[in-house]
């Protein structure tokens, strides 16, 4: 009971540092969000498909429909500008003029995992595209 070794300060500091919240990468997230909004405004489904995560693309595709066809059918909001950006680990959230985007870092780059999202009173956002 009385023999445990004090070995604290270093790891507490590491713990605090490890939890340092909004990580670097905000600029890269903003660039992806800007590209996403431009593609949405231009109704460029091919560009949108290049910006989504593999999981989101897969969830959008139904039956024989390709990603380009599926995203072309969605009327995703594209109003700017990019507003508040929050980055937590490999996940990010971006407020835009008329949307809330969710992004995931995949293969070293940021991709959109959720778009066309509407806040719900209780529970997660309801997103037209998510995956």
């Amino acid at each position: 009971m009385r023999t445990r070794v004090l070995a604290a300060a270093g790891v507490v500091a590491l713990a605090l540092c490890g939890g340092c919240g909004a990580a670097p990468g905000t600029d890269a997230v903003t660039r992806t969000a800007d590209a996403w909004l431009a593609a949405a405004r231009a109704k460029d489904a091919a560009a949108l498909c290049r910006l989504v995560t593999p999981a989101a693309a897969e969830s959008a595709e139904t039956g024989d429909e390709t990603c380009v066809q599926a995203l072309g059918d969605l009327d995703l909001p594209g109003a700017g500008p990019v507003g508040a950006v929050q980055v937590w680990s490999d996940r990010a959230q971006v407020r835009t003029g008329d949307d809330t985007l969710f992004l995931t870092e995949v293969d070293g780059g940021w991709r959109v995992s959720g778009a066309g999202c509407t806040a719900q009173a209780d529970g997660p956002y309801d997103c037209d595209l998510e995956g």
Partner: protein, 223 residues
């Protein structure tokens, strides 16, 4: 060899601590990467994991509860006693005891620590230094848990298409208190078990037990 023997307890538990921490990190990175794959994220390297908020929160939440346990135990055993328990001092010694009993100030001996001989505020602080340091480490670890836990929680929130929370929001959340209290309850149970079981059970040769032949009612005796 004699030096090793003289410090065996510290060395053994120090080594166990490091081994357990490495084991936790290895199991943790495997578990974390499983979750990453199911939530559409990339696997992380071992180094990325051990510097992540997820690992920091897991480590800190266990640390804070351990140090809380010792902080409370050190302070409460000044005032609370348990008849028959090896973890309790003698029943008539409740409180901080006299300077003579504690060998401080003019009752200090030649080999007393400087803090016991100094008198004044230095002795006052030194007389409470063990509990105070445990308390500070507890608070530091708990703070670290809240900061790292919030970062980890917010990453999960975003993966679930939910809003991140502020620090005040996190420290009043179910996640924070669930993580905190599940650690606290086990620590308090362990202390209560030790206090009570040491009344009736013995471990021959251990200072955590009374000598085998000592009566159940004897209090404050170590084997």
């Amino acid at each position: 060899m004699k030096r090793l023997r003289d410090h065996g307890l510290s060395l053994f538990f120090g080594a166990l601590f490091l081994l357990a921490l490495v084991g936790e990190s290895l199991a943790g990175v495997a578990s974390f990467n499983n979750e990453q794959l199911t939530s559409g994220g990339d696997p992380v390297s071992y180094w990325q994991y051990v510097t992540s908020s997820s690992f920091a929160a897991d480590v800190a939440e266990n640390w804070q509860s351990e140090y809380l346990q010792f902080f409370l135990y050190i302070f409460l055993t000044v005032w609370l006693v348990q008849r028959g328990s090896v973890e309790s001092k003698e029943l008539d010694k409740v409180g901080t005891e006299s300077d003579e009993e504690q060998k401080v100030g003019r009752y200090a001996t030649a080999d007393s620590p400087a803090g016991a001989r100094a008198g004044g505020w230095r002795t006052l602080v030194y007389s409470r230094s063990l509990g105070a340091v445990m308390g500070v480490i507890f608070l530091g670890s708990w703070l670290a848990q809240s900061v790292a836990g919030r970062a980890s929680y917010n990453a999960r929130q975003l993966a679930d298409f939910s809003d991140p929370v502020s620090w005040p929001g996190y420290v009043t959340s179910a996640d924070f208190w669930n993580r905190t209290l599940q650690n606290w309850q086990s620590e308090f149970l362990a202390v209560a078990s030790m206090v009570i079981l040491s009344i009736f059970l013995r471990q021959r040769g251990s200072p955590e037990s009374k000598p085998v032949g000592v009566a159940h009612s004897a209090t404050g005796q170590e084997g």
